[in-house]
């Protein structure tokens, strides 16, 4: 298969992720959209690694997975805490850290 197709798929997934982050207010959905973007990037890395026949892309992909896992742990914990205190998971309402 044409390797470009993988990249196009990755771009589409990434755009969906961006769209989700920008328009959704539920923190969980935003969070999942971020995961989607990370995985889109991973797909691109893997495709590139396959293309060039080197391991570099794969290594980075593993890194990203680790980072994503760590992020899920921290991020979900924060979201759960916010939900517990404010009874809401809307990110627009959590705007205390402004000027």
């Amino acid at each position: 298969m044409n390797p470009n197709n993988y990249l196009i798929l990755a771009a589409i997934l990434f755009t969906i992720g961006v769209y989700g982050v920008l328009v959704r207010r539920n923190a969980i959905i935003v969070f999942m959209s971020v995961e989607l973007m990370l995985n889109a990037a991973n797909l691109a890395f893997v495709a590139a690694a396959r293309n060039t026949g080197t391991l570099d892309g794969l290594v980075v992909a593993f890194f990203v997975m680790v980072v994503a896992a760590a992020e899920v742990v921290v991020g979900l914990a924060i979201i759960v805490t916010i939900f517990r205190t404010r009874r809401s998971a809307s990110i627009d309402e959590a705007s205390l850290m402004k000027y």
Binding site: L22, I91, D92, A94, S95, K98
Partner: protein, 619 residues
């Protein structure tokens, strides 16, 4: 030995100033003792000097190397010669008399100890001035007497007028100091030395313009210290000080330091016709200006101050005439030191009896109430107007004689000055001691105590015999000749013609004054419907008005506008920069609106931008 001359009064001043209240009881005696001891030492040195042959009379004392930086080598050295010794005797002699007088005069002043400390400080500084062997050390004495003068003029510190007068004296003197500083710098740069000996030796090889500039700078210095035109204005205000101070500092000694400086630097003036001419012009203007001011003053001390200016004008003029005049400048300085100090002490004695009133319009008919004061003041009066054989006659006559030998105009100026002197002094005599009593109600004039009258008597004797003694016994012309040089004027009107003319002018002035003030009653309140000239003389010939318009007001304006400029423009620029950065930050802060999505959009925008740039650059 020489150092002890200075050291004794300096020690006195130090003990009194550092000792504080503990020394109140005996402080004035210590001061008198120190001054007297210095006088006795001076007299001893004088006798020793007389005993030596002419070549050996000059002695020096090198104390230590004071400053040494590169070629700038200044010794801390003293130097006693025929010129210095006469000053030493004048300073310590008149100084001691005035110390004694002050015991009585300042008896009731709570700050008497401090007064005596300052007097001793003055004597020490003045001695340093005349004993220094280089211009730089002279400067220290020069400024030291200025400091003492400042402290003593503003001695009554609670009086704003006294504080202002002291400050004014110091600042005007500082203008003169600029001249002295520049002269010393020029000497150093040109000759590489500032000792009297070194400069005298090198001066002939200096370029004539440099020598002229040095001479003019020294003249500026002399103008400041000796209250010569155009720096004369401080002397009249200086009368705010206690009267003994006026007698010692502002009549007999300090104000004559300018004359000393010119005579001491004669090597420079000998070589520069221009500088000498400037000196003569300054002297002539001041001698007439001072006399003119003296004619209209009702304040007895200010009248005498105008007279002092005028008499120093004579000395400066004589000094400007060159080798023919130096000796007579010093001669007049010495006789003037005696009779003017006597006159001031007399004025102080009158004030003492009149509740410190200085207005002569409140005096009158005091000759019967204050016999000794009347007699001593009268002798001083005869000396200053130049009646033979009193002291002033001999010295003033010589100056007039020499002046005529150099230029008719200058000669006529000195002659006119003599007439005006006779006028204002007769006016002063008449208003104070003759006529009817115009005393204020609760004033009971009385003679001063012996501690005050004895110094007055001694000075009166000096006014009578001083001139003859110095001229005939001391042979002052030849005594000073080795130091200052001396030349007989080549051609002049002969003495036998000049003396009658001078006496006629003097008698005319005196008679005129007697007719106006002795024969007619003197109004108690000064008449206001007077001519312009009288008004000008009362206003010190508008010297203060001129200073105010030319320097003070522009200076104040400049200061105010610079203060504004500093806070608004310079600091404003810096603060403005800070404020604008702060304002910008405040605006930028608004971007942090707290919505995660807007941050995400910004990030996306940034990423897109970078991507676009990368693409564009590749293309």
């Amino acid at each position: 030995m020489i150092a002890a001359l200075i050291g004794l009064p300096l020690l006195g001043a130090t003990v009194l100033l550092l000792g504080g209240r503990r020394t109140n009881a005996w402080g004035h005696f210590l001061a008198v003792a120190m001054s007297a001891a210095s006088f006795l030492l001076g007299a001893f040195l004088f006798i020793q000097m007389v005993g030596k042959s002419e070549e050996e009379r000059e002695i020096g004392q090198h104390l230590f190397d004071w400053i040494s930086v590169g070629a700038f080598q200044i010794p801390f050295g003293l130097h006693l010669d025929q010129l210095s010794i006469v000053f030493v005797l004048l300073i310590t002699g008149v100084g001691t008399l005035i110390h004694i007088y002050s015991i009585g005069y300042m008896e009731h002043d709570p700050n008497r100890r401090r007064f005596f400390a300052y007097l001793n400080l003055f004597v020490a500084a003045m001695l340093l001035l005349v004993l220094a062997d280089n211009y730089f050390l002279l400067y220290v004495g020069w400024e030291g007497v200025g400091l003492a003068s400042y402290l003593l003029i503003s001695f009554y510190q609670q009086k704003p007028s006294a504080a202002t007068a002291g400050k004014k004296a110091f600042i005007v003197n500082r203008v003169g100091d600029v001249g002295l500083s520049l002269a010393i710098m020029l000497m150093f740069v040109t000759f590489g030395t500032v000792t009297f000996e070194g400069v005298d030796a090198a001066v002939a090889s200096g370029s004539s313009s440099t020598v002229t500039w040095i001479g003019l700078a020294l003249l500026l210095a002399a103008c400041g210290k000796s209250a010569q035109f155009p720096l004369q204005s401080w002397l009249l205000d200086a009368m705010e000080g206690p009267t003994p101070v006026s007698a010692l500092i502002h009549a007999a000694t300090m104000v004559t330091a300018g004359v000393y400086l010119i005579v001491r630097a004669h090597a420079i003036f000998d070589l520069s016709e221009t500088a000498r001419t400037a000196v003569v012009i300054v002297g002539a203007i001041t001698l007439l200006l001072g006399a003119f001011i003296g004619t209209a003053k009702d304040d007895i001390k200010k009248g005498l101050a105008g007279s002092t200016m005028s008499q120093i004008g004579y000395m400066v003029l004589a000094a400007g005439l060159g080798p023919v005049g130096y000796v007579f400048a010093i001669f007049h300085l010495l006789t003037h030191g005696m009779f003017k100090a006597g006159l001031f002490l007399g004025a102080g004695s009158v004030m003492h009896g009149m509740h410190d009133d200085v207005n002569m319009r409140h005096y009158g008919a005091l000759r019967t109430m204050m016999k000794i004061t009347y007699a001593t003041f009268g002798l001083g009066f005869l000396a200053i107007i130049g009646v033979p054989p009193f002291a002033g006659f001999w010295s003033k006559d010589e100056i007039i004689y020499v002046a005529f030998s150099q230029s008719l105009i200058i000669g006529l100026a000195t002659l006119l000055g003599a007439g005006v002197t006779a006028f204002y002094m007769t006016r002063m005599m008449a208003m104070t001691f003759f006529g009817e009593a115009r005393w204020e109600d609760d004033v009971h004039p009385h003679e001063s105590p012996a501690v005050m009258t004895i110094p007055m008597i001694v000075l009166a004797l000096g006014s009578v015999f001083g001139g003859m003694a110095m001229l005939f016994v001391g042979d002052i012309e030849h005594w000073l000749e080795p130091v200052t040089g001396f030349a007989k004027p080549e051609h002049s009107v002969s003495h036998s013609v000049l003396i009658p003319i001078t006496l006629a002018v003097v008698l005319g002035g005196a008679l005129f004054a007697w007719l106006r003030y002795g024969r007619r009653p003197v109004p108690v309140v000064a008449p206001t419907d007077v001519r312009f000239l009288t008004r000008a003389a009362r206003a010190d010939a508008y010297g203060d008005a001129l200073n105010e318009a030319a320097f003070m007001r522009p200076g104040q304006y400049l200061t105010r506008s610079l203060t504004w400029f500093d806070s608004k423009a310079i600091d404003g620029l810096v603060s403005g920069l800070a404020a604008s950065i702060g304002g910008l930050s405040a605006r930028a802060r608004r971007l942090q609106n707290g919505y995660a999505r807007s941050y995400a959009v910004t990030m996306l925008g940034g990423a897109v931008l970078i991507a676009l740039i990368l693409l564009l650059v590749r293309l």
